[in-house]
């Protein structure tokens, strides 16, 4: 499903402030598994996640997701890839604050040329999975952290992608909301999704549905 081969990411190449974020990363994620990228802040796990999500380009190496060499895809194909294969949940949710929950979740569907009815069906389904349907018309800026998180997950799910990437999903949640998140992730796995989580939270260490934990330190896989 996801193969990373000899991946390097260097910022400001050749400049005084050159910085190696990822160094010779190799790993594989099988379909319908949950993989945790674990490391302290600044270790490079978020960069790795954004490269897998096609939002950042590696300096060298190969990123193969669903048989696509995504580092080499032109913009239109990369956008299609993001729209069809990937659902990304950001650490700080990145919702459009002035839009309602429903409108935020529908964003990935807008450029697809779907009818209003199709969009409504898909958004409602995503909201049900994430237990946020009751806040459908609420403006996003009025939501709590946990609710925002659920909206962000619903938005990531709405296109029915095979892969869900979550960047520090518990960083802005209290323990109760973290538990809710774990429940949602468990359900997503049951739905056949492949999930990659970047986190430093020990909560994910003991989850029975997590197949693999990859430790990252200073841009290297350490264990």
């Amino acid at each position: 499903m996801i193969k990373i081969k000899a991946l390097n990411k260097i910022y400001n190449v050749g400049q005084k402030n050159e910085f190696v974020a990822l160094r010779n990363i190799n790993f594989e994620v099988l379909p319908n598994t949950v993989v945790v990228l674990k490391g302290v802040s600044g270790s490079g796990k978020s960069t790795l996640l954004s490269i897998i999500g096609g939002m950042n380009k590696p300096t060298s190496g190969e990123v193969i997701v669903e048989d696509k060499y995504i580092a080499k895809l032109p913009d239109l194909h990369l956008s299609n890839f993001r729209a069809s294969s990937i659902g990304f949940v950001f650490q700080s949710f990145h919702l459009i604050n002035d839009l309602s929950v429903f409108d935020n979740i529908s964003i990935p569907l807008i450029p697809l040329g779907l009818s209003a009815k199709e969009i409504e069906e898909k958004v409602n389904y995503a909201m049900q999975i994430c237990n946020i349907a009751h806040k459908s018309m609420e403006i996003s800026k009025n939501l709590s952290g946990g609710e925002k998180q659920r909206v962000a997950i619903a938005r990531a799910l709405v296109n029915n992608p095979n892969i869900i990437l979550l960047d520090e999903p518990t960083a802005n949640l209290d323990s109760a909301n973290s538990k809710n998140l774990v429940e949602i992730l468990s359900n997503l796995k049951k739905l056949g999704k492949t999930i990659v989580i970047s986190t430093h939270d020990s909560l994910f260490d003991e989850l029975d549905f997590v197949e693999k934990i990859i430790y990252i330190k200073d841009g290297d896989i350490s264990g």
Partner: protein, 392 residues
């Protein structure tokens, strides 16, 4: 990609971004209002003047002595009448009547009301006029500016002109000129030619100019030569000359405004560019969110173009509507004075609605290209930049 849901989302975004757009919307509406007002005034005046010129005779011949206009003897009419191609010829009296106490000047035009062609022209302008009654006594038709002046001085039914021989010549007010001809007729007094001669002190057997019609305009150049052959000391003003001078006069004025507008527009574009290129973190984030959720650069650009187009189109339309009301309902206070200049009689001009849609369309295109480009360039820059970086 562009379907009903895309458009619904677009309008939703425009609504949500209304605070961001409002300043640009107001500035651009103001600019469009000013420019379109100038355009409306200019085209309305030109249209009225050119319509007036169109209804005039093809040639006006004046006698010149030592570079100055001199009265023309009536025999000259017979000299010219024999020239082939002239369909109609008649004398005309045209002169200024100075009102000493108020320092105002009226323009008196004397026409031969017995002439069938002239009589028909008058009937065209004044629908239902009783020419026989008009000819039966010393009557005059006056412009609205003259009427206002007479009213203020309690001359409701007649006015007493003072002839050069210091005789009083009472002339009854028969009618007023149509309001929509004010630009031309505001200070005009129309009367019988013999009455005009008495008031202006012109000999009975002379007139100030001779007007003639030549239906075949390909003959105009030849005809000019023939007229000069008959009398070399003449000045010939053709309808074309009048059209050119009016067009040049108002093109010059609107050209001046166009330059001012260009400077304003350029400044506006810089402001606009700055406004959108200094995109704040929420704008940047929004574009990055679209990219992260699978929107292509093209889709984002289309969204932004549409978003700015809606703002641009609505501000343009609002500007045009305000300009229309300002010019054609309120008669463009302040701006009208710049165009028409000071006038010796109080001006109360009504602009006749006349719109050159081709010019309006050109302005619209010109405005929208600048408007969209100013928004598009910064949006494109962000859309093509690193998503990850924009979200951090």
């Amino acid at each position: 990609m562009i379907n009903k849901t895309f458009l619904s989302f677009l309008f939703l975004l425009v609504y949500q971004h209304r605070i961001k757009h409002i300043s640009i919307f107001l500035i651009s509406t103001l600019l469009i209002t000013i420019l379109v007002s100038v355009m409306f005034i200019s085209t309305s005046i030109k249209h009225q003047l050119l319509s007036f010129v169109d209804s005039q005779s093809d040639f006006v011949v004046q006698k010149v002595r030592a570079g100055n206009r001199d009265d023309i003897p009536n025999e000259w009419i017979d000299d010219f009448r024999n020239i082939r191609g002239i369909s109609h010829i008649q004398p005309r009296v045209y002169g200024e009547y100075y009102h000493l106490a108020s320092d105002y000047k009226f323009t008196i035009v004397g026409i031969d009301l017995f002439d069938e062609y002239t009589s028909l022209q008058i009937k065209k302008v004044f629908d239902g006029i009783d020419i026989e009654k008009f000819m039966s006594e010393d009557y005059m038709i006056i412009g609205n500016g003259v009427k206002d002046f007479f009213d203020k001085n309690y001359y409701k039914e007649y006015y007493n002109f003072l002839t050069p021989q210091l005789d009083i010549q009472r002339v009854m007010i028969f009618d007023t000129m149509p309001k929509n001809s004010d630009i031309i007729s505001n200070d005009l007094i129309l009367m019988d030619i013999d009455l005009a001669k008495r008031i202006l002190g012109i000999d009975k057997d002379k007139s100030t100019d001779i007007v003639l019609n030549v239906p075949n305009d390909t003959e105009w150049i030849n005809l000019k030569v023939e007229l000069i052959d008959k009398h070399h000391n003449i000045k010939i003003i053709t309808k074309e000359d009048l059209q050119k001078s009016y067009t040049n006069l108002y093109n010059y004025k609107s050209g001046f405004f166009l330059i001012v507008f260009m400077i304003l527009l350029l400044t506006f574009c810089l402001v606009l560019y700055q406004r959108y290129s200094m995109i704040n973190s929420s704008d940047k984030k929004e574009i990055a969110i679209f990219r992260a959720t699978g929107w292509s650069i093209k889709a984002i650009i289309v969204l932004k173009v549409f978003e700015s187009s809606i703002v641009g189109i609505f501000s343009f339309l609002l500007g045009v509507i305000i300009a229309y009301i300002f010019v054609f309902v309120f008669d463009a206070p302040l701006l009208a004075d710049i165009f028409l200049g000071s006038h010796n009689i109080g001006y109360d001009i009504s602009f006749v609605p006349y719109i050159e849609f081709s010019m309006l369309f050109s302005l619209f295109m010109f405005f929208m290209i600048f408007f969209i480009a100013s928004v598009l360039i910064p949006a494109w820059k962000i859309a093509t930049s690193d998503i990850d970086g924009s979200l951090r």
